[in-house]
């Protein structure tokens, strides 16, 4: 009975895992979520990939060259799709045009915007054929930029940049990639079976160009549920090879002597202020008063109390890499003095400037952790500053919607990186960014973002990022609170699993089962 298979099978090099949700879509142009990203990372190869140490390594592209006005990718000639047809430059051109085509309505179209004319095409002002990418022969891809884009090669590891086969996409229309037999693969695994809501099975792709490096023969995912304790129970019963832990299952895992692992998601959580005209939080002195009393380390160590979670002090997570090293080690986060007297001086100033300070609306999520956090903020602001706050607890979609419409004074928010460059956090508070939900507008900040986006000089970029983190701290655009980590248990026989923030996680491409 295959459904009752063990977590790992060394002889057949087969592993069983679970999923939190059904992938909403395996169409790489439409996919946005982690589950789809995880699956696509095993089914597809992009131009480049992230290697074991987080550096870029060749994928379908043998080599590449980045210039100020564009980039060239030379494709390997031995790469094929699972039906044996070659992977060509034209398939990348097709996929990228499709992703920015307004009719596709891809939520990640923006990630292609460094390409010439991408924004205009996405706005519907230009035909998709005008996108700045072309095939020069079957194995050479030429990309042109509107503005220099020093991190473009890193972007192409992202799923929206994966190639697509026009014949397959057009054959299935809107049902494309909705079932295992309605898509095609060029990666190390093929999707052999997809029973919606119940089970996905990945089999090694015998036609993969680098198949000699792939040891696992099968990855079976017969359990789909968002209940965290079910995953852990399945792990305990030796049914799955990896299970995330939360605060309730962690203690049991420790008591049983399981080896627990930590994984840094590179995700930043923060409090975001509303800068709109009618909001008290537009007042700098008020924001500084709040900043001076909310100490992230108190939140992390006294309230959240989960191992591995780190207090955050900068817009850029401490593990963010840039310029060949870790950014926070080269440019440490700005210092903040947690000082009640100073806070009260700021508060007095704010009261002078504003008259009275109305109760502040604190917009938060509805998870147990979000509630704990919110109560901490409420308590600290009341105790140390006498500030009243009203909690507005909302489900995820509604919280995002309220943030977008500016219905908050302070909002608890989070951000995960899309690619391995600090700009993925840095441009958040650019005046033109739709994710700048507090409407912070600052010419100096915008200039720093432009410089970081366009300069090809790594040092100039690093300095621009440093300016950003200082402006964010001095203007109190946000108060960084913590960096999230994942805790998990993994079957002792399973080796070679890579946890990476980028390019699909966890990554079993180079994993194997030890005897």
């Amino acid at each position: 009975m295959p459904l009752l298979a063990r977590a790992v099978d060394a002889e057949r090099q087969r592993i069983t895992l679970s999923l939190a949700t059904e992938p909403p879509s395996l169409d790489s142009a439409l996919a946005t979520d982690q589950i789809s990203s995880f699956l696509l990372a095993h089914l597809m190869d992009g131009l480049v990939q992230y290697g074991p140490d987080g550096s870029l390594v060749p994928g379908i592209a043998r080599r590449w060259e980045a210039r100020e006005d564009g980039a060239t990718f030379w494709l390997r000639e031995d790469a094929t799709w699972s039906d044996g047809k070659p992977v060509t430059a034209e398939q990348f051109v097709y996929a990228w045009r499709r992703a920015v085509d307004p009719a596709t309505a891809s939520q990640y179209a923006f990630i292609l915007f460094p390409i010439k004319n991408a924004e205009a095409v996405n706005r519907g002002d230009m035909a998709p054929e005008r996108l700045g990418v072309r095939a020069s022969g079957s194995h050479k891809l030429e990309v042109s930029f509107d503005k220099p884009c020093p991190y473009f090669a890193k972007l192409t590891a992202f799923m929206t940049f994966f190639p697509a086969r026009q014949d397959v996409v057009e054959r299935w229309g809107r049902a494309y990639a909705a079932d295992a037999d309605k898509m095609i693969f060029n990666g190390p695994f093929v999707l052999e079976r997809w029973v919606h809501g119940a089970r996905l099975t990945l089999k090694k792709n015998p036609r993969y160009w680098n198949q000699a490096a792939i040891k696992l023969q099968e990855i079976d995912l017969p359990y789909i549920t968002s209940d965290p304790s079910t995953h852990y129970n399945l792990y305990k019963d030796n049914r799955i090879a990896l299970s995330p832990l939360d605060s309730s299952t962690l203690s049991d895992a420790l008591a049983r002597g399981y080896e627990t692992h930590l994984f840094d998601f590179g995700t930043l959580f923060f409090l975001e202020f509303n800068f709109r005209e009618d909001r008290a939080t537009r007042n700098l002195a008020l924001r500084r008063a709040i900043q001076s009393v909310l100490n992230p380390s108190l939140l992390v160590y006294k309230v959240l109390g989960l191992p591995g979670i780190k207090p955050a002090y900068s817009l850029f997570p401490s593990s963010m890499r840039a310029g060949g090293g870790v950014f926070s080690q080269q440019y440490p986060p700005p210092r903040i003095d947690y000082d009640i007297e100073q806070a009260q001086r700021y508060l007095a100033q704010a009261k002078q400037e504003l008259g009275t300070i109305p109760p502040l609306t604190l917009l938060v999520g509805d998870s147990p952790r979000a509630v704990n956090e919110a109560e901490f903020y409420q308590y600290v602001l009341k105790q140390s500053l006498g500030l009243e706050t009203r909690l507005d607890q909302q489900t995820f979609k509604q919280r995002i919607s309220k943030m977008r419409r500016g219905e908050f004074d302070i909002a608890a928010a989070g951000w995960g990186p899309d690619f391995d460059d600090p700009i993925t956090f840095g441009d958040l508070f650019a005046s033109w960014n739709e994710n700048n939900r507090g409407r912070f507008i600052h010419a100096g900040y915008d200039a720093a973002v432009r410089q970081a986006q366009q300069s090809l000089d790594p040092e100039v970029r690093l300095q621009a990022f440093d300016r950003m983190q200082h402006i964010v701290s001095e203007e109190v655009v946000i108060i960084p609170t913590y960096e999230n980590v994942g805790l998990y248990v993994q079957h002792p026989q399973l080796a070679g699993v890579r946890r990476s923030i980028f390019g699909g996680d966890p990554n079993f491409r180079y994993a194997w089962v030890e005897p």
């Binding site: 009975m1 939520q107 119940a198 359990y223 979609k397």
Partner: protein, 314 residues
């Protein structure tokens, strides 16, 4: 009889229309829309998405279009499972919920009737007391606690014996079915047991039982031939809503045991404001409930000769 059936069907259709309309407008009144995701959409993208899903049209027009499609049996395409039709979602996942529900119902009915009868037979004695205690527990403990507990017990049992007695979660074989079905049916079983018990006790004090006793019938014969059969009627009455509740209410059990039923999709859709899936599943469940209630009404006449549907002379 036929007139009665037609009338019920007409009322049923009206009910479904009402459900559809109320859901449609309630949904559009909720703040936010399905396109709110962690990464903000540009105004351009929002427009592209709204156009793709027809949300750029005025609400009135959307409503008419939606009713038209509904009449044709087409609920549209899911907002979150971007390439799947809502009809396919219902078609693939309702049977799973239904199988689970039917087995749960069988377990609940058999257990409930037997338990209630046993409790009434030994009224106010030890079996009665024990059973009623269990009933109170089963009714008052929420199903997510029972489900989690049951799962934990399976893990412990497998661990202790070193064998796979039962699967912890998943779907696909018979062995995956029993525990989730039992957990799902447990509340209903307890409720039916209590109902059966009191119904039995009511019957016990009626004249015809007294007559039977006076005629010298044995305890067992009275119990079996007169008490049990007459006590069943109120239980059958309850079965209608219960069938609907059980086949549609398995969300928690489906979640904890990783069962690909429709309940999970329904709840997920509500959380994600997946308009088309919310509409599709709500209308489908509504129609299902109406259908079951009509069937049960019709069955009354079959089970109890005192009930006449066409209002003819007795």
């Amino acid at each position: 009889m036929l007139r009665y059936v037609l009338k019920r069907i007409a009322y049923g259709a009206l009910t479904i229309w009402f459900i559809a309309t109320a859901t449609f407008f309630a949904m559009h009144a909720v703040p936010g829309d399905p396109f709110n995701s962690a990464k903000a959409a540009t105004p351009q993208l929002r427009e592209n998405l709204r156009a793709r899903y027809g949300l750029d049209k005025p609400v009135g027009e959307q409503y008419v279009l939606y009713l038209k499609n509904m009449l044709r049996g087409d609920f549209g395409i899911s907002f979150t499972q971007e390439n799947r039709r809502v009809n396919d979602i219902i078609r693939e996942h309702f049977p799973v919920s239904a199988i689970l529900g039917v087995v749960a119902l069988l377990i609940a009915t058999a257990g409930g009737i037997a338990g209630g009868a046993v409790a009434a037979y030994w009224h106010n004695r030890l079996p009665d007391r024990l059973l009623m205690m269990a009933v109170v527990l089963a009714i008052s403990i929420p199903s997510f606690v029972i489900a989690a507990l049951a799962q934990l017990l399976i893990v412990q049992a497998n661990d202790l014996t070193g064998r796979s007695l039962l699967p912890v979660a998943g779907w696909g074989t018979l062995s995956h079915l029993w525990i989730p079905a039992l957990v799902l049916g447990l509340g209903t079983m307890a409720y039916l047991a209590r109902l059966m018990r009191s119904s039995m006790l009511d019957v016990m004090n009626t004249d015809y039982i007294l007559t039977a006793r006076a005629k010298g019938l044995g305890n067992w014969q009275i119990f079996w031939r007169h008490q049990l059969r007459n006590a069943l009627l109120p239980v059958v009455t309850e079965l209608g809503p219960t069938i609907a509740a059980i086949t549609t209410g398995g969300f928690v059990v489906e979640l904890i045991f990783a069962i690909p039923g429709l309940g999970r999709y329904f709840v997920q859709a509500v959380q994600q404001l997946d308009y088309t899936v919310i509409m599709g599943t709500t209308v489908f469940y509504g129609a299902f409930l109406v259908l079951i209630v009509v069937i049960v009404d019709l069955l009354y006449g079959v089970i109890d000769p005192r009930i006449r549907l066409h209002g003819g002379r007795r």
